[in-house]
């Protein structure tokens, strides 16, 4: 780190700056950068061939498919919910709005293991619907539906929590203008609202997908842990690691780590984009007012 570039506006003594920056950078390097680097180091420890071999495995391919399937169902479900809920919350006034927002955020406060457990209590053999489901030959827990449900639960708030403040900030003026020009509700949504919130939607989907593909605790509670059966990628990593198959475990982990890095980069780009859009819309609004 070059110390010469330090912001001139700050009047902390030079040695204070050096010490604080050094501690911060060392801490982050040790706690965050090193774990990220070590994944790729361990994955390629025995060379590129061993790395690639880890993917030529039926169970690995199944785990990747399962992860994509779970995210492929959970993310669209929560996307539709997020847009619907933020329309209801941002465009209308009603009592209990604060409570509704708090309830939407609830899954973030619940430990992953408990998130899996609650579905066992509904659909499991000792649960509410267990006997009935068994009688009809439907299996949810220890099967694909359980994994999808648990994934949906842990990623539930992502899109909604991103869109609610965004849509509240934007207000309803443009929607009112569209309606008064004769557009119906759907047309207003597709042509006016959606273009305004598209980066926010993408941002929510990005974070939602990262969590959906990476969820471990909740999914491990509701999956049977039978390899190749209902294993997602994180569960497969766990199984490989417990088998002391370190290279394969880290090879699988490297895909998810890469997904994490892509998510981080995308997140930063989108944050700038959203900030820019909100500045632009603020400017256009103030010019309208001044005219």
């Amino acid at each position: 780190m070059s110390a010469r570039k330090i912001h001139a506006g700050n009047n902390d003594p030079f040695w204070v700056r050096i010490i604080v920056i050094t501690i911060s950078v060392t801490f982050v390097a040790l706690m965050l950068v090193l774990p990220l680097g070590v994944i790729f180091w361990e994955a390629f420890r025995k060379g590129g061939a061993a790395y690639l071999k880890a993917f030529q495995d039926r169970n690995a391919m199944r785990a990747i498919t399962m992860t994509c399937l779970a995210a492929g169902i959970a993310v669209p479900l929560n996307l539709v919910f997020g847009i619907t809920a933020s329309w209801a919350i941002a465009k209308f006034n009603f009592r209990g709005k604060g409570l509704l927002i708090a309830l939407i955020d609830l899954p973030f406060a619940i430990s992953p293991v408990i998130s899996g457990l609650i579905y066992i209590l509904v659909f499991g053999m000792q649960g509410w619907l267990g006997k009935w489901l068994e009688g009809h030959g439907i299996q949810i827990i220890f099967a694909v539906p359980g994994i999808v449900l648990a994934t949906t639960f842990v990623t539930f708030p992502f899109v909604a929590r991103e869109l609610i403040p965004l849509m509240q900030e934007q207000g309803s003026e443009e929607e009112w203008a569209a309606i008064s020009l004769g557009a119906n509700g759907w047309q207003t949504f597709w042509r006016v609202t959606l273009p305004n919130i598209k980066w926010g939607v993408l941002y929510g989907v990005l974070l939602c997908n990262a969590r959906a593909m990476g969820e471990f605790g909740a999914v491990s509670v509701v999956s049977s842990n039978i390899r190749g059966g209902t294993n997602t990628l994180p569960l497969h990593i766990d199984a490989l690691y417990n088998d002391y198959n370190s290279v394969a475990a880290f090879a699988m982990a490297s895909i998810l780590a890469l997904l994490g890095v892509v998510t981080l980069v995308g997140k930063n780009l989108l944050e700038r984009k959203i900030e820019q859009e909100s500045i632009n819309s603020l400017e256009s609004r103030t010019t309208k007012v001044s005219q």
């Binding site: 780190m1 330090i6 912001h7 920056i21 501690i23 911060s24 801490f27 982050v28 706690m31 965050l32 950068v33 090193l34 774990p35 990220l36 070590v38 994944i39 180091w41 919910f81 619907t84 809920a85 209801a88 919350i89 465009k91 209308f92 009603f94 509704l100 309830l103 609830l106 899954p107 406060a109 619940i110 430990s111 992953p112 293991v113 408990i114 457990l117 209590l121 509904v122 000792q126 649960g127 539930f156 557009a183 119906n184 509700g185 207003t188 990262a210 593909m213 990476g214 969820e215 471990f216 605790g217 569960l235 990593i237 475990a249 880290f250 982990a253 780590a257 994490g260 981080l264 930063n268």
Partner: protein, 278 residues
């Protein structure tokens, strides 16, 4: 084409969106969550009490709360320094530092777990050098603290950043021009105005740590009474087909988390009143 003739002051779609929101929220979140509390409620009180006060469960609670507390405290100190560096100083790599803080949010917990083990485990990059000195950085409570510190850091940094940005330096300069020493300015001006954010960040990191599972189980060693966290105990109860037992432990953990998050709301309210008075 006004859809809503009766209530002209409303945009269309309220019933549809509100109805769907409540239906989906109930199906995915509220009803399954109610199942947990109802399950615990149908338990015999003595069974419930015996489950949550058994020695193994108490040891797990102590470990989970203790390690979460220490990790949140470590993050409060280092998170404050990191946030301070990012907001107040300009140096090469500052933006990268800022961007990478969210890594624990973006990284799957199982991946973080095996990565931390590869560093702090007995044969890990750092761990192996500490074994000769008798320091076990994994398969020990220390390993749990390390994992919980990893996942909690962003909470502190991201809560402190906006608060630090708001402190634009004017109050500090005013204090300095009135003859306050740097130390006095720090304790009398900076600390009080940052306290609500520090407390909020600390509490959020603590709450998150209480429920953490994925990253911890790889570095913990999971020895009953010693390095077994509450989340893992829930799973081992499930493995023994003791569903009510698992529900009982879960209800206690969940209630603790809710109380903590309520405290965050309290801090928020308190800090708004403080600034409102000022």
């Amino acid at each position: 084409m006004f859809n809503n003739k009766r209530s002209k002051a409303m945009l269309p779609g309220f019933r549809l969106t509100m109805g769907y929101t409540l239906l989906y929220l109930s199906l995915i979140v509220l009803i399954p969550l109610a199942a947990l509390f109802l399950k615990a409620a149908t338990m015999d009180w003595n069974d419930f009490y015996d489950t949550i006060t058994s020695r193994r469960v108490q040891a797990a609670y102590r470990l989970t709360f203790g390690a979460s507390l220490i990790a949140a405290l470590i993050n409060t100190v280092f998170g404050a320094l990191v946030a301070w560096s990012i907001v107040r100083y300009r140096f090469a790599g500052r933006q990268l530092l800022d961007a990478i803080i969210d890594l624990p949010f973006a990284m799957p917990t199982a991946v973080s777990g095996i990565a931390l083990m590869a560093i702090y485990g007995p044969t890990g990059l750092i761990g192996k050098h500490l074994v000769p000195y008798g320091i076990k950085t994994a398969i020990s409570p220390l390993g749990i603290v390390i994992a919980l510190t990893f996942i909690g850091l962003p909470f502190l940094v991201r809560t402190l950043q906006p608060a630090l940005e708001e402190l634009d330096g004017e109050a500090e300069q005013a204090a300095a021009s009135l003859g306050a020493s740097r130390w006095q300015t720090f304790w009398r001006i900076m600390v009080p105005s940052l306290l609500p954010s520090l407390l909020t960040g600390f509490t959020l990191a603590f709450a998150r740590a209480l429920g953490e599972y994925g990253s911890v189980i790889f570095v913990a060693g999971n020895i009953p009474m010693k390095t077994e966290i509450a989340s893992l105990l829930i799973i081992s109860k499930l493995d023994d087909s003791d569903v009510p037992g698992a529900a009982a432990i879960a209800v206690v953990m969940l209630s603790a988390t809710f109380l903590i998050l309520l405290a965050v709301q309290g801090i928020h309210w308190w800090s708004q009143r403080m600034t409102g008075r000022a």
